[in-house]
Each structure stands twice: as C-alpha cells, then as structure tokens.
Symmetry: C3
Subunit: 169 residues, 3 copies
C-alpha cells in the first residue's frame, strides 16, 4: 500500500477520497485476494462533466475523465488492503456513453489504462473490455470498473527495477 | 445454505426454480470458491414483462423486475454450495434496456441490491456496475449478473447479530 | 495445455496467433489460477468484418464471427498456462453491436459458447452474459470476453471419457 502511495507522490497525483456509492452497494468488496470495485464515474469534488461522446464531451476530454474514473477506483480499492499488501490490476471494464457511430472507445479507455501503468508499473498490466453504451448513470460520459488482486508489497529496491520495465509502454 | 433458506422463509420469499439457460451455457459455474451466475432476466413462471424503460416499462416496474432477476440468480447459485456453506455476494452487474436519455439506472438496479442486502445481510454488500444498453435478449427490460463467493455458513446465533447490522440499510 | 492443442487438431481448427491489443493493455492476465482475457473482436489475419447486426452483418454471419472471437480468446489465454495445466471456461461475456429492436443476442453468442463446448468438453460449460450495445470498438459486430480457470490437465484416458459427455450438447 505504501509503495502505491509513494508512487502517487512521485507522480504528484492526489488520491481522491473513497467514492460514495449512488445507491445500496459498496464502493469495493474483497473476496479472498480479489478486490472488486464498483463502476466509477468521473466525479471530482462532487462534480461531474455530463454528456455523450463525442458530440457533447470531446474524445480528449473523455480520455481525461476516464483516468479520473481510475483514480476513484484506486481510492475505493486501497482501504481493503492490509499494511504489507499492494494492488495488481487484473481487469478493467470501460463503458463510454457514446454516439452509435462512434467507434474509438479504446482511445478513451486508454486514459485509465495508461494511468494504471504509470502508477502500478508492471502490476498495472491488465485485461480490458471496452464498449459504447447508450446511456450511463447520471448522464456520465464514461464509467470504469476494476478488478484488482491483493499482492505482497514489493520492497523499494524491487520497485526501482520495475520502473525500468515501465519504459516499454 | 440453510441460513439463506431460513432467511427467505422469514421474508416470506419463495425461491424460483433453478433458471433454464436460453442457449448453450450453464445457469451458474463454480471456480474454486467463486460462483459466476449467468445474466438473469426477470422471468417468473416462464413469463416475462418486455419492453424498454421508461417508455414501455416504468421505473417502478423495472425496479421490481430487477429484484426478480436477483432471486433467479440466487436460485442458480444455491445448488453449487456444499451443505455447510453460504453465499457472499461479491459483484452485481445490472443492465437496463433503456431510452438513450434515461439516466436513472441506479434506482432500478437498487431493486436487486436491496433484496440482496435483505436476504444476505452483511454478506450482501457488493460492488456494482450499472448501465443502460440499447437492447437485451428477448426484449427484457433488465438483466442482472452476479458473482458470489462460497463462504462458511454462520451459526444461527451469529446470524442473529447480523440482523442488527441490517437496520443500517 | 496439450489436451487442448490435441482437441483443436481433432477438430481441424487452427489456433490464431496471440491477439495484439488495440491499446495500452494486455491480451490476457493471470491472477492466481484465474485468467482474465481482454474483450476479443472477430479479427482474422488482421482483417475484420464491420457493421451492425442484423442490418449490415446478418445473424448467421455474426454467429460465425462470435466463434472467431472465442478462438482469439483461447489464443490469448493458452500462453499463461503451465505445461501440465489446462483451461476451464468460467464466464463468457458477449456483446453484440446491434439494432435497438434486435433481441436475438443469445443465438449469436451461441457461436462462441458452442465452440467452447466442442473444444473444452465438460470444462467448456460456462456462465454467460449476453446483450446488445450501441457501438463496439472499430465498428466490430461482436465482442467476446472470457474468464478462464487454470486447472490440472486431464490424462488422455480421462479426456476420452469426457468426449462421451459432450454428446449431450
């Protein structure tokens, strides 16, 4: 957990507070070593840009918002770790509220994927599902859902080695 | 398993029969302690209300139907438990066949989420993904997919304590 | 792993090369014994049929393409197995880029499900989620995502027994 917090500091990223569910569910649930995070909307300080991609929300804006969704997912997952554990991102599902003739969902979800790799390094390499849907809760342009695995925390020195691997991305 | 059946009886809920798949798949599959349930439609006694939300099927009706989907999911999962095991709901995915300008999917999926909490108590607290899609199989208004974890059954006395927690919902 | 390769040979199926991700993610990720495969499009030799079902791509064509998606998923999962392991298909999610009044998604996803049963036998019995979405990456007609479990490989004699079970499908 400390390794992730340290990495966020290096990247000058402030972790948002643990997200509040919109209804009768939890932000994240742990089952054995798997951590399932609820679908995250690009909410920041209680505010959210709304609208469909690309007519109301542009591709670039939506890409930025998808990385915000990932930060919210990270904030939801971290409290479920024990002191000496860290996170491996296993699967990321990305849903874009988009026009029926918009097919560039991968570019948008890359906002989340790229940030995951920046923060988690090799442990940020994930399987992914991306698609366009007709409508998202609260008229959100993008929604990201993550499945993490709780893994033993790396020693700082090992973290250094992984930084080398990151250059590949 | 008995703890869940007992709780259903307390709530005067009759569990539907194990759902029949529409095609070449299984109602539910167990992998280690995880139980993956196929997407459940609001079928009751072989019948199903059809149509889009909210123009054909109202929000209230769809909310009721989403709880029916959860019951079908429970009926699919229970046969995969051993005698001394019970279920923890880990993740719930809710898909609403809705108009492109309808954004209140969380209210509809709350039908399933609330019932999960009523039946499973603390073990019903789940991560959730909700969204609107353009069309569902058989023109269903809602589809719910669940991932459960098989956990040791609580003793009746412990069950009593959890009932206290449930008042929070 | 050898049992699956042998079965593919019996069925005269050539496994495609490991799929290339469209963006910053991996074709498949292993977490403990679970293998999460990224959403697969019906890409064959770098080419893909595009368009919506059923107006541009017919139901029969889409069904065929969904089995191609499954082959790509299999090709992504196999490299994550150890020598003496095999695959159990746990969950299959099928997304069809379809018209809002098209409700026969199960028939299309059966292309993938049936092939899974043919190749993996009893271990191909999976939980499934099927739905229609407004748009898929690259204008793909269908996208399939799989979760597998790495299981011990069966001996050839045991494989023979399972073939008997397959007649039921």
């Amino acid at each position: 957990m400390k390794d992730i917090l340290q990495r966020l500091e290096e990247l000058s990223i402030t972790l948002p507070p643990k997200p509040t569910p919109l209804a009768a569910y939890s932000p994240a649930v742990r089952a054995e070593n798997f951590i399932y995070v609820s679908g995250q909307l690009p909410i920041h300080d209680g505010q959210m840009t709304t609208g469909r991609v690309p007519d109301v929300v542009s591709l670039d804006e939506a890409t930025e918002l998808s990385s915000l969704c990932f930060l919210n997912a990270l904030a939801a997952a971290l409290p479920l770790l024990n002191e000496n554990e860290s996170l491996q991102l296993v699967q990321l599902q990305g849903f874009v509220q988009s026009a029926p003739d918009f097919y560039d969902h991968p570019a948008i979800i890359d906002g989340a994927s790229t940030l995951a790799l920046q923060i988690l390094g090799e442990r940020g390499r994930h399987a992914r599902i991306a698609m366009g849907v007709s409508a998202l809760p609260k008229n959100a342009p993008v929604e990201i859902s993550c499945t993490f695995l709780a893994v033993p925390q790396r020693s700082p020195r090992f973290l250094g080695r992984y930084r080398w691997f990151e250059r590949k991305f």
